[in-house]
Amino acid sequence: MKLNLAEKVLAYAALLLAAVLLAGPLAILFFSSLKTPAEIQSNPHALLPQIWRWENYGDAVTAMPFFLYLRNTLLICLGSVIGTVISCSMAAYAFSKLQWPGRNLLFGVLIGTMLLPWHVTMIPRFLLLREVGLYNTLGALIVPTFLGDAFSIFLLRQFFRTIPEDLSEAARIDGLGEWGIFWRIILPLSKPAVATVALFQFIAAWNDFSGPLLLLSDKRNFPLAYGLEQFVSSYSDQTHLLLAAATLFTLPIVILFFLTQRTFLKGIATTGLK
């Protein structure tokens, strides 16, 4: 299909309009985070700052325990990525490469848990985590990821299924056990899928707000997402600091997205379609 000139102009106009409406707010966020407090008040609608005040970032970082929050966020991200990758790849192996009674039924249950609203399990989960002494520790946000999550298991299973059974058979004849096949053959062949799951979990943990809200009470344990929300209530009249803090919190995710874009978009299309 080819477009004629008029159609092309129309297409570009629509694409540009959509780009401005969707990406515009991010540009506004970034440039406004560099304005002086006075300029934010007097001239909030100009895109570019008259004076680029990079000190806003320094001020935002010192206005809250930024690096403590960042450390907590990174610990939660790291721990939950490890937990998710281990537990989910193991379960995905069981659901794709092994035959065992109840497998299909349990796979149905797995899909069912994806559709279950969190409301139904929230209160007992909270009490359970409190009972085992994890309340108000970073562990409350990490330990549950070692018990698998349906979305990641599903994504990995879809990938494992595409690996030819002959490879496993050959390894079995060579005397490799199931763990050996999983660890030395399936996992190394599944690096793209494992990377996708790790990426999604990292971003989910970075962004998570309701988990910390529910399970953490001590400021020393707050991750950035929660610390930032606390910051909003105490600095609501200092828009330049709020925008600078929000930018600092967002920037790593935007950079990560640019670096991993293909993995990212493919992962979404896979779980939605197949």
Binding site: L3, Q99, T121, I123, F182, I253
Partner: protein
């Protein structure tokens, strides 16, 4: 021999998830069902009170207070937001599949808002939608659409228009707008589906003299119906589950005037502010049943309009 080994290995590999299924799903599922028939304040042990929590819910639905108000707000959020997300998702995907240069850049720009952390996005939109200083109202005023109250107004767009004939989006409309900003996930799925539509169908239709609009309505749209259905179901579930942005823009109170008090927030406050775990569990279970019924109804109607020919 190898099959027994396979069997044991199956359970062994699935065991972390099976443990999670019991601890994080089955136990909580049963416990919250039981507690929904109890009075439970975390300090004293749960005390059986029969269906009292549920009769209270029925009262609140009848009077439009408490859960009734939350249900109405959530229903509005889903009923306005989900159809718009379908419309916008398809429109953006179609734009991105037009044969012009630079599509990779546009795709990135369109998707970018979807990766922005909800906390940061909420802070940004609270500022952009500020009735006096916000750039959105600045833009609206310059084209003669006034300066609506957005997050600071408890009214909603449709009932205000019905009563006064003016365009004045309120707090829930602002939340819908914020959710539409993150439509990229669905857009990517539509885009992938558009790529799967056989080119020969379009070529044949073009030879038969079908214009762009007819090709869209009779080829593209039917091929997209499975994704529209997926979007409908997931969009409904996501609207009901939305919490973070609502909590942040309403300072955890559902303000202004309870207009953003949605089921998630009401449940959270009942449980962790009023320590009314029994009532909160009943809210959760009623919500679960309502959602299940709605999903099943959607599945039933899907036979009539979803095309699984491909």
């Amino acid at each position: 021999m190898s099959s027994t080994r396979n069997r044991i290995a199956g359970y062994a590999f699935a065991s972390p998830w099976l443990g999670g299924l019991v601890l994080l799903y089955l136990f909580p599922f049963a416990a919250s069902l039981y507690w929904s028939f109890c009075r439970y304040d975390l300090i004293n042990p749960p005390q059986w009170i029969g269906g009292e929590n549920y009769t209270r819910l029925a009262d609140e639905i009848a009077t439009g207070t408490g859960f009734g108000q939350a249900l109405a707000n959530t229903a509005y959020y889903a009923a306005v937001g989900v159809p718009l997300s379908i419309l916008l998702g398809i429109t953006l995907a179609v734009l991105l599949s037009l044969p012009v240069r630079g599509q990779a850049i546009f795709r990135t720009l369109f998707f970018l808002p979807s990766v922005i952390p909800v906390v940061a996005a909420s802070i940004l939109w609270m500022w952009l939608l500020d009735p006096k200083e916000g750039i959105v109202n600045y833009g609206l005023a310059s084209i003669g659409l006034g300066t609506p109250g957005w997050l600071q107004s408890s009214g909603d767009m449709f009932s205000t228009f019905w009563r006064t004939g003016t365009f004045a989006p309120g707090s829930k409309d602002a939340l819908v707008l914020m959710s539409l900003w993150g439509v990229g996930n669905f857009m990517v799925i539509y885009l992938a589906a558009l790529g799967d539509v056989p080119k020969s169908l379009y070529e044949a239709a073009q030879l038969d003299g079908a214009g762009a609009m007819r090709r869209f309505l009779h080829i593209t749209l039917p091929m997209l119906t499975p994704i529209i259905f997926f979007n409908l179901v997931m969009g409904l579930i996501q609207s009901v589950q939305a919490f973070t942005q609502i909590y942040i823009v309403s300072e955890g109170r559902g303000s202004p005037a309870g207009s953003t008090m949605m089921i998630s927030l009401q449940l959270f406050l009942s449980a962790f502010q009023h320590l009314d775990m029994g009532y909160a569990s009943a809210v959760a279970w009623l919500l679960f049943v309502l959602l299940l019924v709605a999903t099943l109804l959607l599945f039933r109607t899907s036979r009539r309009w979803v095309y699984y020919g491909g």
